[in-house]
């Protein structure tokens, strides 16, 4: 019985990883082997070279890199400040404000594409990297996560620092932020993978090489005049996924724990 279960688990695992294995097979072999499996098929990097030359992937990667960096930096600052306010300050309207923040957990920017597009157009920043990032910068999820974390910090530590003459921001920086480091790591990994992978809003708000992230670049590339040159498309696909995939394989435990931590709250 146990053995049967192990076999089932392994089969499911294999099934789950199969698309990725298939992608690697096709990407690293000449096109004539893309649908044929031969043990000694020659390996090649030619598909990657052709994909790289056929579209400005270097620029797309740079755009994605700038996007995730910008979004994460803004999120860390904004959510830290707001989370601190909710955790340790009393102000009129706090409860209403908190509900209004949590609203974003349900009504995400992903569904507000029509109106946000209008806003970006009014602001005159269509087709720019900040336009992709702006709706996500004040993240309800981040605020909530940090509020919960800051609430667990003992008040004594806070008061001790105050007695020493630190003001509110210094206390935040010296006491709260260092204690929340694992949560920042967790949030960072979740945020980076979300925004590296995000597609619909960037697709709408960008329309040139100068601002497109890799996901949109890949879509433009694979739906363009490539025909169905699977080998090249798959190579581009592997390339797009590679940074996160490598980071994940290297830091598997941190990734899994981060997603866990971010989920438990």
């Amino acid at each position: 019985m146990r053995r049967l279960e192990t076999t089932a688990a392994w089969l499911l695992g294999l099934l789950w990883i199969l698309p990725l294995l298939y992608a690697f097979w096709t990407a690293f072999h000449p096109p004539e082997f893309s649908t044929r499996f031969a043990l000694f098929a020659p390996l090649t990097l030619d598909n990657f070279r052709r994909a790289w030359e056929a579209a400005p992937f270097a620029r797309y990667f740079l755009n994605s890199f700038m996007l995730v960096t910008m979004v994460l930096a803004a999120q860390l600052v904004l959510c830290t400040l707001a989370g601190y306010a909710f955790a340790r300050f009393d102000f009129p309207g706090k409860d209403v404000a908190f509900v209004l923040v949590l609203l974003q957990l349900m009504i995400m920017p992903d569904v507000l594409i029509v109106e946000n597009y209008r806003t970006m157009s009014r602001l005159g920043i269509l087709d720019s990297i900040p336009a992709i990032g702006l709706p996500y910068m004040a993240s309800a999820f981040g605020i909530f996560l940090l509020r919960q974390t800051f609430k667990t910090v003992p008040r004594e530590l806070d008061e001790a620092a105050r007695v020493e003459g630190a003001n509110a921001l210094q206390v935040l920086w010296k006491v709260y932020v260092p204690l929340a480091r694992p949560v920042y790591l967790a949030y960072g990994l979740v945020s980076v993978s979300y925004h590296w992978n995000n597609f619909l809003w960037p697709l709408i708000v960008t329309n040139s090489v100068h601002s497109r992230p890799v996901t949109v670049g890949l879509q433009v590339f694979s739906s363009g005049d490539q025909g169905i040159d699977w080998s090249v498309i798959t190579a581009a696909t592997v390339m797009t996924s590679a940074p996160l995939l490598m980071a994940f394989l290297l830091f598997q435990r941190q990734f899994v724990q981060s997603f866990m931590r971010a989920g438990i709250r």
Binding site: M106, E115, S222
Partner: protein, 289 residues
């Protein structure tokens, strides 16, 4: 106002301003715009009353998308949650190779949907796709999986399940690890079978996680449309058009933003209902404290 109160608001202000601009304002503007025509040539759009909603009632693609979305949700949610529980139980057990299994199950979560959709597209390709290569030697008739209205939505659902199950597994894994091992010991001393132990002890203890995952899964069934762009573009004959995809088409292919706002409002109502349901059914402790 006290100093404390002023500091509190000042700390909150930057994030709140952005939320107001990109979440609260657009949500309200969606309602407003849904009663107006699409703006043309810089002129203020005229008030059209229920015109957009009348259009919606008569829009076959809207109804088709609504039904598709319902099937998409019904197909994705129970299966991905069930698979997630099974995966978590396996990965949490003393099974051989469970580190490898955890990696295999979790990998789809971190891959871009738009990228993996290309691979799945290849899977389902007629004649030389992998699925055909496996099925044809077994004597199944060749068919165009993504090209026929009967099977296209199912293919899209399969991809969504594949993408989501490993993500949900993580939450169950966290919950399983917080169950004290003494419970399993007690159960085995009492002679309870594994199935009984799971049904009467583990599953009830997982309930808060299941509700949390359920809310996530419902929201995802509204949001997760990336693979449609690669695999089917809503076709064939709108068989895989989902609500958000329809919003995209109306708003950004046909540029009828007035009508797209009305369609968006349907999505917002669905999400609001989920939020209310969560508020009513979920133990508030799970989320707020």
């Amino acid at each position: 106002m006290s100093r404390n109160a002023i500091h509190g608001w000042l700390l909150l202000l930057p994030a709140f301003a952005l939320l107001a601009l990109f979440t609260h304002w657009p949500a309200v503007a969606t309602i407003w715009d849904s009663f107006h025509a699409t703006p043309r040539a810089g002129k203020a759009p005229p008030f059209v009353g229920m015109e957009n909603y009348k259009l919606m009632l008569a829009d076959e693609v809207f109804w088709k998308s609504l039904w598709n979305n319902l099937w998409y949700a019904l197909g994705t949610i129970p299966l991905s949650i069930a698979l997630a529980i099974v995966m978590a139980l396996w990965v949490n057990s003393a099974m051989r190779g469970r580190t490898w299994l955890r990696m295999a199950f979790f990998t789809p979560t971190i891959l871009p949907m738009i990228a993996v959709a290309n691979i799945w597209l290849f899977f389902f390709t007629p004649q030389y796709g992998l699925l055909e290569q496996v099925l044809q030697p077994l004597g199944f008739a060749s068919r165009n999986w993504l090209g026929s209205p009967e099977t296209a939505l199912a293919c899209v659902i399969v991809v969504a399940i594949w993408k989501e199950a490993g993500f949900f597994m993580i939450f169950y894994l966290a919950a399983l690890q917080s169950i004290p091992p003494s419970l399993a010991e007690a159960a085995s001393i009492e002679g309870a079978s594994r199935a009984y132990y799971f049904r009467r002890v583990v599953f009830p203890l997982l309930m808060p996680t299941t509700l949390f995952v359920l809310v996530n899964a419902i929201v995802n069934s509204v949001r997760l449309v990336d693979h449609i762009f690669v695999m089917t573009r809503g076709g064939p004959n709108n068989a895989t058009s989902l609500l958000l995809f329809h919003v995209y088409q109306v708003g950004f292919n046909f540029w009828d933003t007035g009508y797209a706002a009305a369609l968006t409002l349907v999505l917002l109502v669905v999400l609001a209902l989920v939020a209310i349901g969560q508020f009513v059914f979920l133990d508030r402790k799970v989320h707020y404290q």
